[in-house]
Structures are given as C-alpha cells and as structure tokens.
Amino acid sequence: MTTVAVKPATMAQALGRALRDALAEDPTVHVMGEDVGALGGVFRVTDGLAKEFGEDRVTDTALAEAGILGTAVGMAMYGLRPVVEMQFDAFAYPAFEQLISHVAKMRNRTRGATPLPITVRVPYGGGIGGVEHHSDSSEAYYMATPGLHVVTPATVADAYGLLRAAIASDDPVVVLEPKRLYWSKDSWNPDEPQAVEPIGRAVVRRRGRSATLITYGPSVPVCLEAAEAARAEGWDLEVVDLRSLVPFDDETVAASVRRTGRAVVVHESGGFGGPGGEIAARVTERCFHHLEAPVLRVAGFDIPYPPPMLERHHLPGVDRILDAVARLQWEAQS
C-alpha cells in the first residue's frame, strides 16, 4: 500500500514478475508446464522467462498433468522448488491423485523429512467466454485437502505478493489465479514490487457498518461494485477479501462480522459443497450471538459451468448480491 505507483500493470504481468524475481533470487526455483516456454503460457504469464533463464529452468513439458506434478514431486525431493502451471482449472484434474496422495501428504507421511515446496498455479473460474472445461471453480477440492495451502489474489499487488510467498513456502501451495482478472490493472510499481505477503491473512478491502461481504479472487471486484451500489439503498457494506482459503483467517473475518452483525459469502463456485458452506459455518460458530440473520451465500448455481453465451446468468453479479443483502432481515434491526 506504500508503493509508489509508477504505471498500471496487469495481474498477468505481476505474476510473471513474481516468477522472474523468484527465478533470479533462488537457483532452485524451476518453472514447468505446458507451453510455458517459447509461447510464454496461453495467458502469457511466463512470457520471456525461458529466454532469460534457459530451458533447464523454464521447461515446456510433455502434455501430461500427472506427469508434470509427479516429476515436480521428485524434483522437490531433490531440493528444487518447482512452480508448476496447470493450463486451465479442469486440466488439473488428471493430476489429482498426485496432488492429494503425494503433494498434500508427503511431509506428513515422512514426519517432516520430505517437505515438498511445490507451487501449483491454476488459472481458475469463468467470465472469459471460455468453452466447456475452461471455467471451473475448483477451489472446493483443494480446500478439502489437508496439507495444501490455497491462496487466490484479487489485486495486482497480491498476485505478486502471494505468488512470491507461495514459492518461498516450504509447503505446497495451490495458487488459484482468477482468469478474468489477468488483464485487470492496478497502479503497481513493478520496479518496487509489493513485499511478499504472508499466507493466511485476509484483508478488509472496504470498511462498512451494515453488513460484511466475505469473498475472494474473481468476486472481490464484483463485491466492491455491489458495495458502491448498496449505498443507494442505505447500506454501508464491508468487503473482506480472504486472499488465503487455507489457512483461513478466522480472526479478521469474525471481527468484521461481529462488528456488522450480518454477512453474505460471495463466490463463483457452485454453492452446494462449495467454500461458502465452510465459511458460513465457521462464521456462525464464532459469531452466533452477534448475528442478526443467518449468514447467506451468493454462489454460482449447482450446475456444470455454462457455455459462454449463458455464463452471465450463472455468475454472481451485483444484483444478486444486493438481493441477498436485502434478505438479511433488516426488519429485526434493533
């Protein structure tokens, strides 16, 4: 927040810069995945890295996600810090067994003898008009897996800070990169990048007194927009950006909800079995007697992600958020 804004940068650029700085600072960092080399990745996040660091450090792999993550495990066992790119959310599924049965568990299985400092970058979520299998919100799968850290940036600065923190972490971290924010711009000085953020801290993006919107990743800008729109209805909404789904920052979230007494969890992922249930349950356990209404959830529908022309009906938008806020039993207001 203290950085001098020089020129606007995109989230994709900040992520690329985080990789570059990590590669430059630490010779054990390796970037690998499909098309991360000459092409620079389909989202251009790794643009220029292969040229700068060579193919041994930034490696175009064969097309096999389990193979990519599985070999990364072996590389980490030998002391490297692999940063793996999964090309799209749904294309991380072939690597599921390696992720769940090895990446998440190896430290535990070996009583700490074999930590796996692996970063798994997963572009996720919708809103970019992608055809099927290119817009899944898969965070529920990762959240339900002990041993993984799960982070997701909503700002350009956090994209840099969280990715650096992920790479520096001695534990495996899944970095969920919101696809539709890749080209979002912030005033961010790429030559004085934001300090590395510790993983596990939520942040209040907007202060408010009426109710708390709890959200993360691609839904953060939507919630901020909703909070602005809510002013017309006389609501002063607080917006909490979780940034880290695992570990979960109970303190920041509960403090906000205790203050406001009302909360709505907002995410793109399907509602049923999605992150919102966990979040609502945790908040309720901690803030029950401060709550004027049940914690509500605004989420994607419980359906396979829709085709491009219909996705706007699926994604939580400002209206749906305001509808939920309206249902927070304001009549009960003391």
Binding site: D60, G129, D302, L310
Partner: protein, 403 residues
C-alpha cells in the same frame, strides 16, 4: 465362447516352459509413412473414392476458412482450424460405415461435418450457445472432446459394448500428437488390446501441441511404435495423402470388424495455421517450416493425381469449388443469425429430474429475468429486443479462448 475368453491364454510358467514371446515384427510400423498418391499404389485406388475425397477436401478447406472468418467477426468464440490436416479429417469420416462411431477431439469439427453433421450444430461448442450442439446418437459422433485423450477410453468402451451385444460396429477415435502423452491414451489402448475391442486410434501428428514441438513430447522412433507395447499393430501413414489415410484406416477397420482387435495409426501431417485464432504461432515456429509444408498440401496432392490420371478436369474442379462455396455461404448465413437461447436450459439437463435445490435456483433465475424484462419494458427503447438473447461475451487479452 464369451468375448472375454478369446484372450490369449498366458499362464505364468517358469523356464524351461517359457514360450518365446509373440513376434513383435508384424506390430511394428514401417520406417517411412505409407503413401499412395504419386506412387504405383495409386493405380489400384478406386477413382470414385478419390473424387469423393477430393470434393470433401475442398469443402473442408473452405469450411475451415469460413469458420476462421466467423471467428474474426465475433460469431465464434474460438476456432481450432484443421487447415492442412483435411486429408485426415475427411478420410476418417468417409472410411466409416453409418453404424460406426466417430470420437473426435476438439480440433475435429471438420471430420464430424464430413460425416454428415450439420455444420452449425458442429460449431455450437465454439460459438458458445451450448456445449455439444448435436445428438451424438444421430450420426454416431461423440461430443467434440476438449480434455485431451479422455475420449479414447470412451471409444474403447463403446466398441467393447457393441461387441458384447454382437453388433457389427467399429469406433474410430481421433487424438493429437500431444494427447498421446496423457495417461488416458495409455489406459485406453491397453484396455482396447486386452479386450480386443473393435476400435481404431488415429493420431494426427501435426508436429505441435500448441507451441510444444514433438521432440519435447516424445523420444520414440514414431508414435506408431507405441502400438507394440499394447500388443496391437502400429501403422505410419502420410497424413496429407488422403488416399493413403483412407487405405490404412480402411484396413485397420476391416481388421477390427473381423475380430482382430484395435490398431494404432499415426498420420504425419502439419497444422498450417495457428493453434486457434487466439494463438500466435510466430512465437514458436519459423515461417520457412510452414512454407515447406505448403509444397505437400493434401488438396494439391490429390488434385495432381486426379488430373494427371484424367479423372478430374477444369469443369470438375469448378463444380467442386462451387459446391464448397455454396456450403460456406449457407454456413455464413446461418451463423450470422443469433442463436435463440433459453437460460432455463441451465437447469434442464443436470439430472434426469431437477433436484428441489435446482428448482429453487431455477425459480430465482426466472424471477431475476422477469424483473429484467419488466425493467426493459419500462424503457421503451428496448421493447423490441428479443428476450434472453445473449451475444458472445466481451473478451480481451491474448488466448482467453485458448483450448
């Protein structure tokens, strides 16, 4: 005898009872890809077939061009062109009987169209109004498959099921060179061989998986050399020689139909355009390489053969081109109409019957849409707009539609 009992009767035995292993030689591909056009073998080819292939190649090329143009006009979300690979696409469609099944990958809309699918329905996925735009059972074309190689076990299972039922059905599954690296490729070929399923795998080796060249994908002498490791024959064919692809696939299908089990066919070809309209192939390959392949164009090869042998003249060529133009004009016209969408479809096909939970969500969306309509009606300007008719979303940045 059941299907299952037909397998070779391997029994673990110690030496000296060891049998020498099956001779692998018949399962290995030739050193160079099989060719027909421009060789003596072309004389044996059926002239009618060659002419049909030619007409479809020309249509196919035109179809690819039209689809790419529609992308530029924003009518398609994305299009992975098969320009340069038409010989494979077309031969794969024409070699099948009606009762057979085709399992295309996401690049193979052309093959589906050549098999008889309505081109508009085949493009539904890429236009973005729904996922699969056709009933797979109608033309026996499985959904265009995006998660790479995952369609291969489907083809094996379907072929196996047909055989169990005693139906004379063969499945032909398409996959790219990159897709051969996925575990599903391995598992599918293995199941097919163990079950002796009537399925043929066609790998279109176009040299690249997006930007990754084959040398980073495999160190094998050829992809067809993988076949012996499953106990099935591997064949190597010139993928730009439509007659050769048709011949090799035809033999493999006949073999499968006769109960001989699966075959792996590698067709050596080249992707002449970028991976999709959203890709920038300048980043990973030289123009000279693309130009070198232009000299081996599948249409030119076949046209030369046909004209040299007097099977095709100027008039014939003109007629074929006109037919292709008509197809393109029709496609263009129909694709220029906005599809009529019903957002309620979102809930219609999640389960056979929507759960109460989905019914609640359906009601919520319906209420929102009603409110939207009321809102529109209040603003007279919008009164004539069709309800719920959404255009493709706004997109920006590179490759957002990369698949």
């Amino acid at each position: 005898m059941t299907v299952m009992e037909q397998r070779g009767a391997y029994r673990p035995t110690p030496p000296p009872a060891w049998q020498p292993r099956t001779d692998p030689a018949p399962l290995l591909p030739d050193a160079l890809p099989h060719r027909v056009l421009g060789t003596a073998a072309a004389d044996r080819a059926d002239p009618d077939l060659l002419r049909r292939l030619y007409a479809e190649l020309v249509r196919g090329r035109r179809y690819n061009a039209q689809a790419t143009a529609l992308t530029k006009q924003g009518r398609l979300a994305v299009y992975p062109s098969s320009t340069g690979q038409e010989a494979c696409e077309v031969a794969a469609a024409l070699v099948l009987e009606e009762r057979d099944w085709l399992f295309p990958s996401y690049r193979d809309t052309l093959s589906a169209v050549a098999r008889g699918l309505d081109p508009v329905q085949a493009l539904t996925l890429l236009r973005g109004d729904w996922h699969t735009g056709y009933d797979p059972n109608e033309h026996r074309v499985a959904p265009l498959c995006t998660p790479l190689a995952t369609q291969l076990p489907h083809a094996v299972g379907l072929a196996h099921a047909a055989r169990l039922k005693g139906d004379d059905v063969v499945a032909l599954a398409l996959v790219g060179d990159g897709g051969t690296s996925e575990g599903d490729f391995h598992e599918a070929l293995n199941f097919a061989a163990v079950w002796r399923a009537p399925v043929v795998f066609l790998v279109q080796n176009n040299g690249f998986a997006i930007s990754v060249p084959l040398a980073k994908q495999t160190a094998a002498p050829s992809l067809a050399h993988k076949a012996v490791g499953y106990g099935m024959p591997g064949r190597l064919v010139d993928g730009n020689d439509a007659a050769a692809v048709h011949e090799v696939l035809g033999e493999a299908i006949a073999h499968a139909r006769a109960g001989g089990g699966p075959t792996l066919v590698e067709a050596v070809t080249y992707r002449m355009e970028a991976h999709t309209n959203a890709d920038d192939d300048k980043r990973y390959r030289a123009d000279a390489e693309v130009e070198a392949w232009r000299a081996h164009d599948p249409i030119a090869l076949l046209e030369r053969e046909l004209t040299e042998r007097g099977l095709l003249d100027e008039d014939g060529i003109r007629a074929v081109r006109e037919d292709a133009e008509a197809m393109a004009a029709d496609l263009r016209e129909r694709m220029n109409q906005d599809p009529v969408l019903d957002p309620m479809d979102l809930f219609a096909h999640v389960y056979a019957r929507p759960t109460t939970q989905l019914q609640e969500q359906e009601a919520q969306l319906r209420a929102e849409l009603d409110a939207e309509i009321r809102h529109h009606e209040d603003e007279p300007d919008h009164r004539d707009e069709p309800d719920h008719r959404d255009g493709p979303d706004h997109r920006d940045g590179p490759e957002v539609n990369a698949r």
